[in-house]
Symmetry: C2
Subunit: 659 residues, 2 copies
């Protein structure tokens, strides 16, 4: 068992340990510290590395490539990739046309605006976006939110022009917000929406979107403008005499067809084309059916006349200084942030699959640009809905070119095919929306959350219930509120644990985690698991005193050696503020009165600097600051007259045997 | 050098290390976990320990003692202690009478209410309070805030009854809030006001209080109702023709006298009585002077008639359902929280000096009770102002009995001596306020903050400027806002650092802190310094990938051995949520593609449980989870085909030599 390494006994180890003290870092120029912190806060991903590497004209090109990622892939674009992108683009166009019309109806906007929104924004994204799979289009959540908030300000039935203008304005503000967040590198604000919150939020939004479809499915002419469950159910039940069986029958048939194709392509991913084409097939079949049996006269409402031609300009419709601007601003902020959070999360997950990186801040600028341009060309809010991205990915897209192909396909539709949608029954659109939304309710994720993290589950369910029983804003407020409260509680009530010595080693570990860890007689080793800030310094002082009281009670009860020294393991204390240094000062004074020594183990450089500046270092005594817990314990045993020793040994490796 | 300990060579050490794996904690019943967490959050100080120890009738007595701390000290109260308390009580009464009148004038309330407020609330506190030094009374900040917020709703000059009723109502709400926070154990919310914020806030409040005194000092009849510097200076300058030299001369004389006594007793703490008695002496001297020279007719305004007799009831004046209730509620919340934060901080600092504990939540209940009772007996908001507590402490108080003595002294004043204050000049009251406020501006603390922690300094200065140039609410909002933003930023941008091996030991430490720490070839050891939450999981993933990129750049540039394994030191990761486990999963998948192994060192039990539940443990492989960084490095060297080895040795102590 005895190898070639040399061993040093405890005394020598202590001597060796004495040579590696914890240093107080040299003072750093203030501006450099601030600069470093700002850099780390706003440019953590060092985005301009590629630009900084080049020089002269090449640097300008690199900068251009940074802003317009298409310059990166276009030069090496191959015919094979083009073919893949054309296939993918046509596929998503066949989904985009019926979905665009459906979501525009959901948002109480003219159906044609859904098609407009699938033409211009995808072109912008093809030039500026860096995700290869994201397919741009309108989303159900934003559409519903437009109807719910803007609809109150300008009922779309009464003032359609004002309503459309408000929608453009909200889209404009959303774009400005998105681009602004990207330029100011504030992408981390979007991270305040946790994954759990997004799961709950999307499920809640999908639920209320499905409920809204009861209007179309039941063929009702009037419907509540509220989105919550109670209002919708009441509206449906009180109008039961108005239900139209024709609408219900047609709707259910198409819904079953759509869900069946979804099921098939989920089981056999190669048949994805089936589910991708199903909505268009339903629209065609439904239109033909209604045309043949004159369904519009028998209780099956249809879309009606759609104007031919591509997007007219809407730049003059923006209401930047009207009494309604605030509503548009609020709606824009909420939908903009939701669109970003969802779009970036989706872009990142697909990028993960193909192992390339999506720069969040750059994506925000792309999203912002496409919404600003969109708001001036009769489009409303666009983002990257999951269903389209999944179809795009399955169809084998290679670059954002598939978005451009989709845009061209939609443009051709706008120019030549709009009259064909005249007889498309609304109930088919409802079926398309429902089948898309059901895929979004990710109950399995909620089960996973429950298993792994109960608080995340609460965030998820709270958000869901907030959206379903309140409204979308309430749900969002709950999500952000619980999430931030959790962070604050973590800081306000950090864990302190008692460490014990692991057998046969110099390591100290939590005694509640490692049953083999043993307390060292006469010593109490405590570990603090968070930065020491104003929000927890009072708590920590009381909690540490309570640990000491408990330990002394135990010592009395068991007749052990009295407590001589408290060792604080500062390894996990990443930061400290003036309340924190004051806390340590108070603690030292308190313990002095009970003749208990205090020792610190493994403080970081920031801690050392602040302890030094605040004179707490001198108060505690530099000789009571140690590199490791075991050194602290060894020193305390030597210097605190602790009778019963314990083999706290420092291991030293012979330098000769090191390479 | 070679001692008796046995050494085990590296291979054996690895074998030994294999026996102390990081355990996955056994599942705990959900309710017990929740119960434990709630207990730790709301009862961190285990307040009922003394009660739980007893049984039967003794337990009831212990519970009663818990609620009414005077039952604890009264049974063993000695004559000597009584004598000390009487001396201290009379001393603080001599300060309380002029201060009470001054602050009531500052709050635009009838001067007599200042005396009322020094009678009933101190009695309540004597029974329920647990700080021995705190002396109850009105505060300048609360008075000024009443004038600033309630004065806008009901100008005291036009509607004095409504104004007084609003003051009682605000006091009532403040009391309910304080008692409620105490009963609900939400004391930690008060901790969200950091020490730095309180320093800045008090200094700002003192500044604007002093500025308000220009009215009295200059003998002005009209004055602005705003508190900010700009408004006050404009009001003073535009009325320069109204300045009265008599008032200025008298005021300056008394101010110099007061500041001189303060200075003396600061230099010689034994002469504290000089500064404690100075305000009363000034009032007496000023009154006599004015009476003799008929100063009230020569530009020196006096208090005028004061009603004799103790507090009338004001329970019927409370406006609990009037249009003004909301203003009173808001004022009550703000003043209540400021009163708590200041009072508890002061109580705790004096308790620290005499090494006893002040229970924050219990103090809140005491404060709440005294304000609720006070609001029904014509008192307005009371707390524990610093100046009185300091005088009380210097005068040698032993128990809260000194508060009761002060109350009796004030009651006698109310019954018999109020007519004597008829000729007290207002300018003397202004001088008393200014001299009290100047002591509160703690510029030295601001300098200390600058030295130790720049962000705390920003909080302090921001709060000060907010109070001085905006108003008290703006200052508070800035204080809480910056403080919370700091916590969120700490979580959103945690530190990650590269660790290196310390020479002659198995410890790994930060290479930027310890210049002697050396990187291990082929390995990258990273340490994460915060919990991994949704707010930072995206950042951490990118930051870790960037460390790896940098390391690979360096390796290429220096022609070193390529990177084979990344070791994450999880020792400082106190907590993880589902976004965090997802991050580790993504990281593992990312690194797998570059054929880099990932290893975790020293994860806590919560981390292990969540990694296990989320299946990330299986993905990484349990054999890649280690107790220490050195074990992880050793194992990686053995298993990742790293050519150039390095003596990473595990030290094992022979159990026979351990006690």
């Amino acid at each position: 068992m005895v190898g070639q390494q040399q061993v040093v006994d405890a005394a020598a180890a202590a001597a060796a340990a004495a040579t590696t003290r914890v240093p107080v870092p040299p003072p750093k120029p203030l501006l450099r510290t601030i600069g470093g912190n700002l850099m780390e806060t706003f440019f953590p991903d060092d985005p301009f590395r590629a630009v900084a590497r080049e020089s002269g004209g090449r640097r300008a090109l690199a900068a251009l490539r940074y802003v317009f990622p298409f310059l990166e892939w276009l030069p090496s674009y191959s015919l094979a990739a083009l073919w893949s992108d054309v296939v993918a683009g046509v596929t998503i166009a066949s989904l985009a046309v019926p979905q665009g019309i459906s979501y525009a109806k959901l948002g109480d906007l003219p159906p044609i605006m859904g098609l407009y929104s699938s033409f211009v924004p995808p072109l912008v994204y093809a030039v500026m976006g860096s995700s290869r799979e994201l397919a741009v289009g309108t989303t159900a959540v934003a559409s519903l939110l437009f109807a719910a908030t803007l609809g109150k300000e300008a009922p779309p039935g009464e003032k359609p022009e004002l309503y459309a203008a408000l929608a453009f304005t909200a889209t404009f503000f959303a774009g400005v917000l998105q681009a602004g967040l990207g330029v100011l590198r504030l992408g981390f604000l979007v991270d305040l929406l946790s994954h759990a919150a997004i799961v709950g939020f999307m499920a809640g939004a999908a639920t209320i979107v499905c409920l809204q479809q009861l209007k179309g499915m039941l063929g009702l002419a009037h419907f509540t403008t509220s989105t919550d469950v109670v209002a919708v159910v009441r509206s449906v039940v009180t109008q039961s005499h108005q239900w139209r069986w024709q609408s219900i029958v047609v709707g259910c048939c198409f819904l079953i067809f759509l869900l069946f194709t979804r099921y098939i392509s989920k089981r056999k991913p190669k048949w994805f084309l089936l589910s991708a084409m199903a909505p268009l097939a339903s629209v065609i079949a439904g239109s033909v059916l209604v045309y043949l049996i004159h369904g519009e006269r028998h209780g099956i409402p249809v879309i009606g006349y759609l104007k031919k031609g591509i997007n007219p300009s809407s730049a003059r419709d923006l209401l930047l200084s009207s009494p309604h601007t605030m509503v548009a601003l609020r709606t824009g902020i909420i939908t903009g942030i939701i669109g970003l959070a969802e779009g970036i999360a989706i872009g990142r997950s697909f990028a993960m699959l193909k192992s390339y990186n999506v720069d969040g801040n750059k994506e925000m600028i792309a999203f912002g640009a496409m919404n600003i341009v969109g708001s001036c060309t009769s489009c409303y809010l666009t983002a990257g809905p999951f269903s389209r991205a999944a179809v795009n990915h399955n169809a084998g897209c290679k670059t954002p070119m598939s978005n451009a192909v989709m845009a061209v396909a939609v443009m051709l539709t706008l120019q030549f095919l709009t009259p064909l949608f005249h007889y498309t029954p609304l109930v088919v659109l409802s079926a398309i929306i429902i089948s898309a939304m059901i895929g979004i309710i990710d109950y399995k994720a909620a089960v996973r959350l429950w298993k792994v993290d109960k608080i995340d589950f609460c965030v998820c369910v709270g958000t869901y219930l907030g959206v379903v029983f309140g409204d979308i804003q309430i749900g969002l407020a709950i999500a952000v509120g619980i999430s931030i409260l959790r962070i604050l509680l973590f800081i306000a009530r950090p864990k302190t644990t008692v460490l014990g010595k692991m057998p046969n080693s110099t390591n100290f570990r939590r005694m509640d985690q490692y049953t083999v860890a043993k307390a060292v007689p006469g010593l109490l080793v405590l570990r603090i698991d968070s930065p020491i800030y104003f929000a927890n310094s009072g708590y920590l002082r009381e909690r540490i005193m309570r640990w000491i009281d408990h330990e002394e009670d135990r010592i009395k009860a068991e007749g052990l050696e009295s407590l001589k020294c408290v060792v604080l393991d500062m390894g996990a204390v990443a930061s400290i503020d003036t309340s924190g240094t004051k806390m340590l000062e108070d603690l030292k004074k308190n313990l002095d009165r009970s003749s208990i020594q205090i020792a610190l183990a493994n403080p970081g450089s920031e801690i050392m600097r602040k302890l030094d500046k605040s004179n707490v270092l001198r108060l505690i005594g530099e000789e009571w600051i140690f590199l490791t817990v075991s050194e602290a314990c060894y020193y305390a045993q030597q210097n605190c007259k602790i009778g019963v020793g314990m083999g706290v040994v420092q291991c030293v490796v012979d330098p000769e045997h090191m390479v």
